[in-house]
């Protein structure tokens, strides 16, 4: 694992926020690693465990539990479309279908354990997320860290084009 100095410093800083118990820094460290590498490998799990003085299983069980952690590489832009009720009523499932069609993503390959699929050109990946706490402005989605509201299916193409540049 090649951890650049700046990342190592951010990890040290994160750990310092938990003066009572280093283990509490598990989620923040995993977030930093995932942000840097795009997803979490077995190496990242082992590295995190040893950095926090834990067994790898203590970290592995987090990566497999929390939907926010990924074990495979996402696209350059990772899209999370809200699946839940208010957005579904506003058309978020149509949005999902349209995004998949436009990016050439086949969601049939997804499952509970592999929730997202990547486009053939590697630019986009898509998954459903549960209620993103903006139910009044659905359908909503996240593209990496950017939040988008009122993204009806007819706006799917413009959304993708915004990131295609």
């Amino acid at each position: 694992m090649d951890i650049p100095r700046e990342l190592a410093e951010r990890i040290d800083e994160a750990i310092s926020h938990y003066p009572v118990m280093k283990r509490s820094a598990a989620l923040p460290v995993l977030h930093l690693l995932q942000e840097h590498f795009g997803y979490l490998t077995a190496n990242a799990v082992e590295w995190t465990a040893s950095r926090l003085g834990l067994e790898p299983i203590n970290i592995h069980e987090l990566v497999t539990f929390y939907p926010g952690f990924r074990q495979t590489a996402p696209g350059r832009w990772h899209i999370r479309v809200c699946r839940t009720l208010s957005c579904a009523m506003a058309g978020s499932h149509d949005l999902m279908d349209r995004l998949c069609r436009l990016t050439g993503i086949d969601r049939d390959s997804t499952s509970h354990d592999h929730p997202f699929a990547v486009s053939p050109d590697g630019r986009f990946s898509i998954e459903f997320a549960e209620c993103l706490a903006s139910c009044g402005t659905g359908p909503v989605c996240l593209v990496n860290d950017d939040f988008h509201e009122k993204v009806t299916a007819d706006r799917a193409e413009a959304l993708l084009q915004h990131y295609a540049q």
């Binding site: 989620l27 929390y66 926010g68 009720l85």
Partner: protein, 469 residues
């Protein structure tokens, strides 16, 4: 204290029936998350006045205000704080629950993204009151921008001496850190949250004995409060507990933010005095009524876990010493009335369904949420939530059998009351109430006559329950 006139962005002006306290600065013209804006508006004055009083006084003030938690359960905040034993030798922690993930709820989002210092001021006062020197804001991972805004606000507050050692020369020390979740709904449940903050899977702890106020973070006394609750503390100190208690209705004091989504003309957030408006006023006056040509069919009043209410249903409630019968639109939006109507005010998320919706389809969407989010510790919840999803799934796909209606209900009945945390109830209540109140739709979509192929045109009205709205 200088509190200037506020104007709001075009199209985002509060409704005349609103009473903006916590949401005063949301969509405000010329407002930013910077500390300078907050200070220019009288920010951190409540903190300074709190520091001039003994902590026990602050707890009493909050008790007098009658404030009830805005996270879901509506538990009196002052009473919760009072559970911290002053003689306890262990450190005390405070956690702000910013996990906001109950479907239908979207209020904390705006506070976190537009008014972070209000939350910090409320938190610092609360920490001073309960004697906490270390606090965390547990924010859901899907608010990355919110987390950055909070980090910046914390840095500003530190550099102005509102955080750190010897705050404002009072001798009081406090550090607050942001902790990001990782996309799991169960982290909103306070003991699951605590496990998550300890770096573990967020498996909720059993109560008793693990009441956070006794055995919380690192097995120390811990106060967990919702974002909106902690913001209210600032206003209670600013205006006094008694003045706060005059807002709203007795036992249901102050304001609260209602989030309306689904089938209304103008969905959105509305800060209202608790119990001062009815469901009908909320949906018709504030939200512009049903969509053209539609009628309201049902309302889920407090986040997706709350039991559904049906249009036309009659409710018996107490008004003064009298028992009166009221309809859906007459229900005052407060904790106690919604509870006597057999549901709950919950998180303030009001989801509206009109007559274009198939109730089995709606329930299936809700069931899919709970089966995905069950933490899996308790067999009834883990297995039951999955079975409920499977059954509603095959119902709306046209593969149901008549016995499914009773099976669905019995699965739900076997979850509620038999689990470690309240998620068990949260996932059983939708199924129980939907099947009870909209039985005909569930029966229609499992009736072999309706499933016969080719389609019988006379059955179209029934068959529509099979298809997604």
């Amino acid at each position: 204290m200088s509190r200037s006139e506020v104007s709001y962005l075009e199209g985002r002006q509060p409704h005349a029936r609103e009473r903006r306290l916590v949401f005063r600065n949301i969509d405000r013209v010329g407002w930013s998350t910077a500390l300078s804006d907050y200070l220019a508006d009288g920010g951190y004055e409540a903190l300074k006045s709190a520091f001039g009083r003994p902590p026990a006084d602050i707890v009493d003030e909050v008790k007098r205000s009658g404030l009830r938690g805005r996270g879901g359960a509506g538990f009196p905040t002052g009473v919760k704080w009072g559970f911290i034993n002053p003689q306890n030798p262990k450190p005390v922690y405070l956690i702000c629950n910013a996990d906001e993930s109950e479907p239908g709820t979207f209020k904390d989002r705006y506070i976190l993204h537009q008014d972070p210092h209000q939350l910090l001021e409320g938190m610092i006062i609360s920490c001073f009151a309960v004697g906490a020197h270390l606090a965390y804001i547990y924010i859901r991972e899907e608010f990355p921008e919110g987390a950055r805004i909070l980090e910046r606000a914390l840095a500003e507050a530190r550099s102005h001496g509102f955080l750190g050692k010897n705050i404002l020369g009072t001798g009081f020390d406090l550090e607050i850190y942001v902790h990001r979740g990782a996309g799991a709904y169960i982290c909103g449940e306070e003991t699951g949250l605590i496990e998550s903050l300890e770096g573990k899977r967020p498996y909720p702890r059993i109560k008793p004995p693990y009441f956070p106020a006794a055995l919380g973070l690192y097995m120390c006394p811990t106060i967990v409060n919702n974002v909106e609750t902690l913001c209210n503390v600032k206003h209670i100190i600013r205006m006094g507990g008694e003045a706060f208690a005059r807002l709203g209705t007795p036992g249901n004091t102050g304001t609260r933010i209602l989030c309306v989504s689904g089938d209304v003309q103008k969905p959105g957030y509305f800060e209202i005095e608790v119990g001062k408006i009815t469901m009908g006023e909320l949906l018709n006056d504030l939200c512009g009524g049903p969509k053209p040509g539609r009628n309201f069919k049902a309302v889920i009043p407090g986040g997706s876990s709350a039991k559904v209410l049906r249009a036309g249903e009659r409710f018996r409630i107490k008004r003064g010493d009298e028992q009166v019968e009221i309809g859906l639109e007459d229900i005052p939006m407060d904790f106690d009335t919604l509870m006597s109507c057999g549901t709950m005010a919950g998180s303030g998320g009001v989801i509206v369904l009109d007559d274009s919706r198939s109730m089995p389809w709606v329930l299936h969407n809700i069931n899919a949420f709970y089966s995905h989010e069950s933490c899996g510790q308790c067999t009834p919840c883990r297995e039951g939530s999955l079975w409920m999803e499977k059954i509603t799934g095959r119902m709306i796909a046209g593969g149901g059998v008549p016995a499914d209606v009773a099976t669905l209900n019995s699965v739900a009945d076997q979850i509620a009351g038999r689990t470690i945390c309240a998620f068990g109830e949260a996932c059983a209540w939708p199924t129980q109430s939907f099947v009870l109140k909209f039985r005909e739709e569930f029966e229609a979509c499992t009736d072999p006559a309706n499933l016969a192929q080719p389609a019988n045109p006379e059955r179209e009205a029934q068959r529509r329950y099979l298809h997604p709205a």
